[in-house]
């Protein structure tokens, strides 16, 4: 197959994002008086995540689907790296744009491996290359190919299916990805994990992503830039999360973002920005006297953290449990240490920590191994110490992170 020249293909070859630009795009559905998307103009820089957010029916999905022409604009144009999306045949265009839909939409009759292989097959890659790519992608999204490639979608959990959806969208290494509420169908805790995982993945792949959600918190967490749409498909504000929280452009934005804007600013900071405290990790059967000695060396810490043989946290051991001598009793550990990841927002971390008896967050890596601890105090400190941002203005917490 001889690929057509042009920026869309060009961007594909170096496998990073492309600039996506909406120019005065309007969509009016037949038989409807008011437009679903009204004169939308915005530019998503290459490699950034642009989140479209707004109340139900405000035209988020419509805007997104016009990028891969599942819906065609009534007027205006959309370009990818300057090239009009209308200049390519629709199927060619779509094979070069990753697409993850609301309900993930895995093909139930195909194995996980075959689902991921769909676009490479449409592009007629060689079998060998497809096999290698499928394995690579499953590993990238954290699913062991040996265990998962031959299974069917019904045999996976919601979170696992979501990862397969992402792997499938990444298969042909498209410069642009469209994601419509990709984390909508999973519970809040798993959602946080998947978001973190996705942000780590994006660090590596640097795609240009148009991401639709109706959840402001998700928008603040995921976005480099947020486009807030209001009813009638009108763009209410397009800016970085920090700027939107600091200066909402209208009463609508202010109301949509919510009264707790100050608190939401905490979402701009990440656990990874905080100073971590070293955790005193202990395993079942360790000697109490030795643990006490280790704990005494750290002033701010009254608790040791019991971990399993994979370094995954099991629960807190307090001074009471350490009285006397001999091996510690693992039963004594009080469970419920809130675990956070480096990508977790300070807001989510804080709310987890406030809800537990020991006000420390256990920072874990993607394999759930303990990296260290963060304290409520450290978050408080960030709140009190505004940082000087690149634009010279004083911004509260979190600006440094974005």
């Amino acid at each position: 197959m001889s690929p057509p020249a042009g920026p869309i293909m060009g961007a594909m070859q170096d496998a990073t994002g492309a600039v996506v630009s909406f120019e005065n795009v309007t969509k009016r559905y037949p038989g409807s008086d008011s437009p679903a998307v009204d004169n939308l103009s915005l530019t998503v820089p290459a490699g950034e995540i642009c989140v479209l957010v707004g109340p139900s029916g405000c035209g988020k999905t419509t805007s997104m689907k016009m990028v891969n022409r599942l819906i065609e604009p009534t007027s205006g144009r959309i370009t990818i790296d300057g090239e009009d999306v209308m200049s390519l045949p629709a199927v060619e265009l779509r094979r070069r744009i990753g697409y993850v839909i609301q309900q993930i939409g895995l093909f139930p009759h195909l194995t996980i491996g075959d689902n991921v292989a769909v676009v490479p097959k449409l592009l007629r890659w060689k079998d060998q290359r497809i096999r290698e790519r499928v394995e690579e992608l499953l590993e990238i999204v954290g699913l062991d190919p040996a265990a998962y490639a031959k299974r069917y979608p019904t045999e996976l959990s919601g979170g696992e299916r979501q990862r397969v959806g992402v792997a499938r969208a990444l298969a042909a290494d498209p410069p642009v990805m469209l994601m419509d509420e990709p984390f909508g169908a999973v519970d809040p805790i798993r959602r946080d994990r998947l978001q973190n995982e996705f942000l780590r993945l994006q660090e590596k792949v640097r795609k240009t992503i148009v991401f639709v959600t109706h959840d402001v918190d998700e928008a603040i967490k995921m976005a480099d830039r947020i486009a807030i749409l209001q009813k009638g498909g009108i763009l209410a504000q397009f800016d970085t999360p920090a700027a939107i929280l600091a200066n909402p452009a209208s009463e609508f934005v202010e109301r949509f973002v919510g009264a707790d804007r100050g608190l939401k600013r905490l979402s701009l900071g990440r656990v990874g920005d905080l100073e971590m405290i070293e955790a005193i990790t202990v395993r079942a059967g360790e000697d109490r006297t030795a643990i006490r000695a280790r704990l005494d060396r750290v002033d701010e810490l009254d608790y040791a953290l019991l971990v399993d043989d994979q370094d995954r946290p099991l629960g807190w051991i307090d001074q009471q449990d350490l009285r006397g001598s001999g091996p510690i009793n693992p039963e004594a550990a009080s469970p419920g240490a809130p675990t956070v990841e480096r990508e977790t927002t300070l807001r989510d971390a804080l709310s987890g920590m406030l809800g537990s008896s020991v006000q420390l967050g256990v920072v874990v890596d993607e394999r759930e191994r303990v990296l260290g601890l963060v304290s409520v105090d450290a978050i408080g400190e960030r709140l009190r110490a505004p940082v000087r941002a690149a634009d010279g203005g004083l911004h509260p917490v979190g600006e440094a992170a974005s």
Binding site: N68, R95, Q102, G105, H109, L110, V119
Partner: protein, 248 residues
Amino acid sequence: MEFFGEVAAWFADPANWNGPDGIPARIGEHLVLSIVPLAAAVAVALPVGAWIGHTGRFSNLVINIANVGRAIPSLAILALAAMLLQRTIVDIGLRDSASEIVTMIALFFLAIPPILTNAYVGINEVDDQIVEAGRGMGMRDLEILRRVEIPVGLPVILVGVRTAAVQVVATATLGAVVATGGLGRYIIDGIAQRRFDEVFAGALIVAALSIATELGFSFIERRATSPGLRGRDTAPRELAQAGRPGGI
């Protein structure tokens, strides 16, 4: 009890297993009489039903054909075909197999509704989200049909074919009324000559053949269905399931 003895004796008689009116020959005729119209109906109704299911256009047509097909008794279809076509067939010089052709045409029309309906329903019921995922990934219409809609709808589609097959096999018996071969001969001739052991034996063989058809198609359905689709609702759809019983 005596009667069953006679039926058993009929089956035991080597004369009934040989020659042009022996059981193997009659089963052979019966199968030809069934397979030809079934294959023709599959060739016509599957693509049409699938395409209507894919596009959603003309779906009223499917529903109407199914309803009309359900309302007309098999015997009426056969009589109608005989009345309308026998002359023409004879005129074009096919006198020797005229009754076979008439029967096959009737069976063809009999097989259309369940195949058409289930092909339409099977494709139409495929989750819109999945279809849109395929479209969004750059599948063309035919690729969506071939790679997504047909395999996902296959269990339902095959139930339609099975329903049609069983109906055709059972109803091919009626061909004997217009003088075809096949297992119906035992029944029609048996009645005419008051040989009820033969009538009953013929009915038994037809029943056995119908059951074998049912089992054979069920086996194919299981083999052809992706393991990822197991446990879904593949129960025959209302429209196709309510096919008429194989008799009159």
